[in-house]
């Protein structure tokens, strides 16, 4: 049921201007190559959903692909700010960016509700914080048994969820391990899904701690070795901490950022490895 396609064909077929696109990967297995393909194909007006927007989100925002960002923590982990995200929010460059902001627990449970075929999920939310009332997708709800007030969050159903995994087999069953984040829920909540993988194998040998996405829930697999750099794929690569640190200087200035994208991401560029 899964198509195995080259990355450019996969993105062209699955993602359209104006779509709600989830890119997930919690520090580990971030789908950088797919994000760069979105930039190359000039996607516009995207609603980008990502719990932890980091460099790939900074790049998509700085290149003007994103109209709305749905997120719960946006930064360069251990380094500092995302300058393109800040420039968009503080100075509307390259254009105004709308945001819908949650706590991690709130956004994770929006995916859970979507994956569960429920209209909403319940959690102990953000009572008393400034987040209350800022999202139309968060409401208070009373327990029918105790009367206690807790939070309800609306199901999230991305048009497309994009994740990176270590392996897929030839029929499209996907295997990922290490920090598995919210990827399973993101894929199950979405209408369509793209999984980029380090390699395609004949058979998925069982791995401790592995999550399996059966092919019947995966629309498309693309084999993109190293497609998560500068993030990492446990068992295949290590996190390029130096690149994360260097991004601060690259992204701080608009021209430097645009030059870097032209040199490393845009069509004809040499690829992102610095």
């Amino acid at each position: 049921m899964t198509e195995i396609l080259a990355l450019d064909e996969a993105v062209a077929g699955l993602v359209h201007d104006g779509d709600c696109v989830a890119l997930e990967g919690f520090t580990h297995l971030i789908p950088f190559a797919a994000g760069h393909e979105l930039v190359r194909q000039g996607r516009r007006e995207l609603t980008l959903v990502r719990m932890t927007p980091d460099i790939v989100s900074d790049q998509l925002i700085g290149m003007g692909c994103v109209r709305t960002l749905v997120f719960s923590w946006g930064g360069n982990p251990g380094v500092g700010s995302l300058h393109r995200l800040r420039d968009a929010l503080e100075h509307s460059w390259p254009h105004p960016l709308e945001i819908e902001e949650h706590s991690h627990a709130g956004l994770a449970n929006r995916y859970v509700a979507g994956a569960s075929g429920l209209p909403f999920a319940v959690l102990r939310g953000d009572a008393g914080t400034g987040l209350e009332g800022r999202s139309p997708h968060v409401a208070e709800i009373a327990c029918p048994f105790t009367g206690e007030r807790v939070s309800a969050v609306a199901a999230l159903h991305p048009d497309v969820s994009i994740v990176h995994a270590q392996r897929a087999d030839r029929s499209g069953n996907v295997q990922l391990w290490g920090i598995t984040g919210v990827q399973k829920e993101a894929v199950l909540a979405a209408t369509r899904s793209l999984v980029t993988v380090e390699e395609i194998v004949d058979a998925l040998e069982p791995r401790p701690g592995a999550t399996i996405l059966p092919s019947f829930v995966v629309s498309t697999v693309s084999c993109v070795p190293g497609g998560t750099h500068p993030s990492y794929a446990t068992g295949y690569s290590e996190r390029d901490d130096a690149f994360y640190a260097s991004w601060d200087a690259i992204s701080r200035d608009r021209e430097t950022f645009l030059a870097w994208m032209a040199a490393h991401v845009l069509p004809g560029a040499g690829g992102i490895t610095p």
Partner: protein
């Protein structure tokens, strides 16, 4: 011949004092939910010095992580590789944090107020931010559900403010009874460790009270660097300086954080 004295190690930096004092707060802790930065340094120092059995829990899903090197991010491979188990992000928040299984949460912040409410969202107006910060992440639920919270942050008139630009995380709200009214089940911030000293909430008013200053810090400085009328404990003490043992352990831990091969 003489019994030569070892040359003394360089004195502790303010970051080192914060890490050591925060680590001391974790004595006897069974489970700790750890954010990145000085909280992570302190938690890992505590595991080496005071609580070898402490279970470090990271929001990336790593439970029982025993990193040999300090992680740069909460999703560092080292955390998963050394964990007793790695669970999904929804599970870590729903079953483990919200489930009320974590004794202590460690948090930092860009702004704090007299009731230890925290801002990590924005400086200035939310809709026209002067400085946009990362946002909430796990902080609201860490502060809501952990048994208690240890806050670690530098103290200045810019960070210790009369009114937060944004309430990202509720500490003690507007004072007595606030947490109960909001249905927050943990006891909230029990201590704030800064580069100048240590503050603890008054048991009745819940307002932060300066209970200790670090060696060489003037009380006046602590007051000047606080954006509200700072209350001071009658028995204000001076922090026991980091011991050679504590400092060398901390410096060894930090030294292990080098770029990967």
């Amino acid at each position: 011949m003489s019994l030569g004295h070892a040359t003394p190690a360089p004195p502790a930096t303010t970051d080192e004092i914060m890490a050591v004092v925060a680590a001391r707060e974790l004595r006897g802790t069974a489970t700790c939910f750890v954010g990145i930065g000085i909280p992570s340094t302190a938690a890992n120092l505590a595991r080496r010095l005071y609580s070898p059995a402490v279970v470090l829990v990271y929001e990336s899903g790593a439970i029982g992580a025993k990193p040999l090197r300090l992680p740069l991010s909460i999703g560092d491979g080292e955390l998963a590789d050394t964990a007793d188990v790695v669970v999904s992000v929804p599970e870590i928040f729903n079953y483990w944090l919200q489930g009320g299984r974590i004794d202590v949460g460690m948090l930092g912040a860009a702004q704090i107020d007299r009731f230890a409410n925290l801002n990590t969202t924005v400086i200035g107006d939310y809709d026209a931010p002067r400085v946009r910060l990362p946002g909430a992440g796990g902080a609201p639920q860490i502060a809501a559900s952990c048994g208690k919270v240890v806050v670690v942050m530098a103290q200045s008139a810019r960070t210790f403010v009369g009114e937060l630009d944004f309430v990202t995380t509720v500490g003690h709200g507007d004072g007595p009874g606030a947490r109960e009214r909001l249905g927050l089940r943990g006891r909230g911030p029990s201590v704030v460790v800064t580069d100048l000293g240590v503050l603890r909430p008054d048991p009745s008013s819940r307002e932060l009270v300066l209970t200790a200053v670090h060696p060489g810090v003037e009380l006046a400085t602590a007051k000047d660097e606080t954006g509200w009328e700072l209350r001071v404990a009658r028995d204000l003490s001076t922090t026991v300086p980091p011991s050679t043992y504590e400092l060398s352990a901390l410096r060894a831990l930090v030294a292990e954080r080098e770029p990967r091969r």
